[in-house]
Amino acid sequence: MTLMTLLLLAAALIGIGLYGALSQQSFVMLMMGLELMLNGVMLAAVAFWAFSGAGTPEGQLLTIIVMAVMAIEMAMGFALVVAVFRAKQADMTEALSELKH
């Protein structure tokens, strides 16, 4: 367990998350991709904190803030999904662009 292996793991998680976020048609699945990316980001933040941050509390705080971003993203995302579904009876990303017409 070194900084490099940890960052490689984080990179792998971000890569998979990016694939998911780009490829999934459904809103909710898309959000799962984002979550997975943030998972990698949090791991990287903690890894830096442990190996090159000399244990400064800001490193931990950064992770907490990423977690908060995640929570907010999820809450707002789902609220939007509900609102869009109510309007369009669909949860596809394509439905968003259709809203213009």
């Binding site: 907490i64 977690m67 908060a68 929570a71 907010i72 809450a75 789902f78 509900v82």
Partner: protein, 115 residues
């Protein structure tokens, strides 16, 4: 060492839970289709139960996701509370007061009722 102990306990209990199910069941044939139909007091369903289930409390769950974040801040706060004294009281008081506004607003909007 503590983590190892936890791991051992976790694996042993999980293994025991699975073994108690698997051991007596390893030779049992799959039950007949009529037995596998869901119990409805003699009635039958039209469809599978798995469906786009209308969760009647979904606004509450969204509220929870946002409100629960406050826990992340509260645990470290609890540890230094006595050390910091009044300052900790003030800051957390403000923090919780702001968030309580959200809960009260949500309650007044009827979020906790079944939609």
């Amino acid at each position: 060492m503590e983590l190892l102990t936890l791991l051992v306990i976790l694996l042993l209990s999980l293994g025991a839970g699975l073994a108690v199910q698997w051991w007596p069941m390893r030779r049992q044939p799959l039950p007949s289709y009529p037995q596998r139909a869901p119990f409805l007091g003699g009635g039958l369903p039209d469809t599978h139960a798995w469906s786009r289930y209308h969760v009647r409390y979904y606004p509450m769950t969204l509220l929870l996701i946002a409100f629960e974040m406050e826990m992340m801040f509260m645990y470290p706060w609890a540890v230094v509370y006595v050390e910091k004294g009044m300052m900790a009281v003030m800051e957390m008081g403000m923090f919780l007061a702001i968030l309580s506004v959200g809960i009260v607003y949500a309650w007044r909007e009827g979020v906790f009722h079944w939609q």
